[in-house]
Symmetry: C2
Subunit: 347 residues, 2 copies
DNA sequence: GTTAGCACTCTATGACGCTGAGTGCTAACG
DNA sequence: CGTTAGCACTCAGCGTCATAGAGTGCTAAC
């Protein structure tokens, strides 16, 4: 026994129905709502086959069928028809990008909000990965007697600043000198490329100025810790509470506590890199137990052809993939363009 | 009929019991568990009185009694015995402050985490209010051709930075000049004190240098918007899901969505300023509908005798006030000391 | 004033049976 | 030989009902 056209039709009908109703769907319902031109009995036979093939399952004997994870996968890969965003929605998105184009954070959070509003699920956005960008410039600014600020500009335009303490006898001239050395040594390098050898080299160069040696190390260390600062933005977390599959407090708790732990979430995202285009990860295709009943639709956004971050939507496996994929696709494109514009302006 | 010693004992027993069990407590339970030396019947009589006085209520005829909001209030004001933190806990808190004393954000989030872990409720911390602090120094640093960074240092040591775009022909010398003017005019003033007149004054002074006029305005505006940047840190949000009163998804949703909206939360906090010492706000003593079944224990933390922020714990009205109050009190003291140390080091 | 006793109330729980949705099988049909 | 009508069967969900248990309020006795 193998998949044929009518089985596909039936599977499509089951999934379509289940996505909207969240109820197991029976043979009668399909016969009534979808015009397959056959009787419920025939559909029952097909369903029996589909179950044997593993595409659908039965919660209990006298219930209808629901799609299995494999069913969703088949649907996403072969059956689904992509939807197109309406003009109205396209306009709404474009409006969302008109203001506040000068702050990375604003763009990210705007995108996330729109994404969650349009899909009614939870939006997940990783801010631009700093590992992929290289140092462009490092500035050290003395603010008061013992306090200075490190400002690191990356080639992507990303910018990070941090406070450091400095010895009392350090003045701005010293700091400028240090910046110069750092710029010369580190300019154009990515964080990954900064090896211990290089640090030692800087160290020795600095050692001519004994009293600011410690400081230089401090700066590097700060820089390295800043490295891990790529944040994850979440939008519409509470949307999942509207989904019937999350009427159970325990499930809510496990999922929310996953979302609360940024490390885990980052891990999850990094382990399901979408590569090019939009990727769909269904249930246990993601490693973590907590999202076994969830799916993610994700895509990378790019600057200069380089993927610099990931954007995605997290919802129950029973989500409207066709719609969500279209939205993610469109938003990714827009986000890439917007980021590109911002970075171009800065370089 | 009026409150007397035995009624107090009974009320205390009811509240104590209800706090731990979350179940209505009956006369038998009290007679058994708390040694009042009287029979259940007598306690029933007292309970009847207490109900008439409004301190307790009955969910339904054949159930025990639960404290009313007024009952909790009476308990907090007159009956409760403050608990003391054990040496073990004091040590844990002190450890928490040992590292990372150089970043305000770290201190805040550390405090919040400890607070929520120790109380098992949700911790709410407002970062230092910037309105209360005055400008100490403003720096403008040119980063690239069209891009500069504004760094604002407040007298509290708080620090804010923001990116701005500048015209191409502006160089660091121009920026230094602007910083100087701004420092001269704004130094020592709080945000509140910056009036339109002052801005106009600066404006006119700047007008000598036509081409950087726009820039100056930009800087001020950025500064003003930075103003509203006092964030609210939340710790242990999911703890409330462990409370039996939040087994209902709808309640969870309303409360969480309140917490998600920073403006509302800020409003809530600002409307219940604790003043000196630790304040307790029970149920509808706070204005918002969403927290009618919650209480907050809050206190201000200080630098130089000035309250600069608020720290609090949010939980169901049925919380262990004695314990929570002690924890908040201790944490506030510690936070104040730590902040003071940080700011002293910076001034 | 306190307490034992008792009737009363009301929730929670579990058993029971019914209903309706849905299936799987079989036999008849084209 | 695929399709379908018919039918017996299964099972979750729901309402009903009776029971148990916790707790009260009242009364009368101490």
């Amino acid at each position: 026994m193998t998949m044929d056209a009518r089985k596909q039709q039936v599977l499509l009908a089951i999934i379509t129905d289940f996505i909207t109703t969240a109820e197991p769907v029976g043979s009668r319902t399909i016969a009534r709502r979808y015009e397959l031109g056959v009787s419920p009995a025939t559909i029952r036979n097909e369903m029996s086959d589909l179950e044997e093939l593993g595409y659908i399952e039965q919660p209990h004997t006298s219930a209808g069928r629901i799609p299995s994870q494999m069913g969703y996968r088949y649907y996403v890969d072969f059956l689904m028809e992509k939807k197109k965003l309406s003009l109205f929605e396209v306009n709404k998105v474009n409006k969302g990008y008109e203001n506040k184009v000068n702050q990375i954070g604003e763009v990210i959070s705007n995108t996330g909000d729109m994404l969650s509003k349009m899909t009614q699920f939870t939006a997940v956005i990783m801010t631009p990965r700093i590992e992929m960008s290289s140092f462009k410039q490092i500035k050290l600014v003395l603010l008061s007697v013992k306090q200075a600020m490190v400002i690191v500009v990356m080639n992507t335009g990303a910018l990070q600043s941090n406070l450091i303490e400095v010895p009392e006898d350090v003045n701005q001239v010293d700091l400028d000198m240090i910046s110069n050395v750092l710029n010369a040594k580190l300019g154009g390098l990515t964080f990954e490329n900064i090896k211990a050898t290089l640090l030692r080299e800087i160290y020795s160069e600095m050692s001519r100025h004994k009293n600011i040696l410690d400081l230089s190390i401090d700066v590097i260390e700060k820089g390295m810790t800043l490295n891990r600062e790529d944040k994850i933005y979440l939008g519409g977390v509470l949307n999942i509470l509207n989904q019937p599959e999350f009427h159970n407090i325990e499930k809510v708790k496990t999922l929310l506590s996953l979302l609360e732990q940024e490390d885990m979430l980052r891990n999850l995202l990094e382990n399901s890199d979408p590569g090019e285009g939009v990727a769909v990860r269904i249930g246990s295709e993601m490693e973590r137990e907590e999202v076994r009943e969830c799916s993610m639709v994700l895509a990378n956004y790019h600057v200069d052809g380089q993927p610099i971050g990931t954007i995605g939507v997290l919802g129950p496996t029973r989500m409207d993939y066709a719609w969500v994929i279209s939205v993610v696709e469109y938003m990714t494109k827009n986000l890439s363009v917007t980021m590109e514009k911002m970075f171009k302006g800065w370089r």
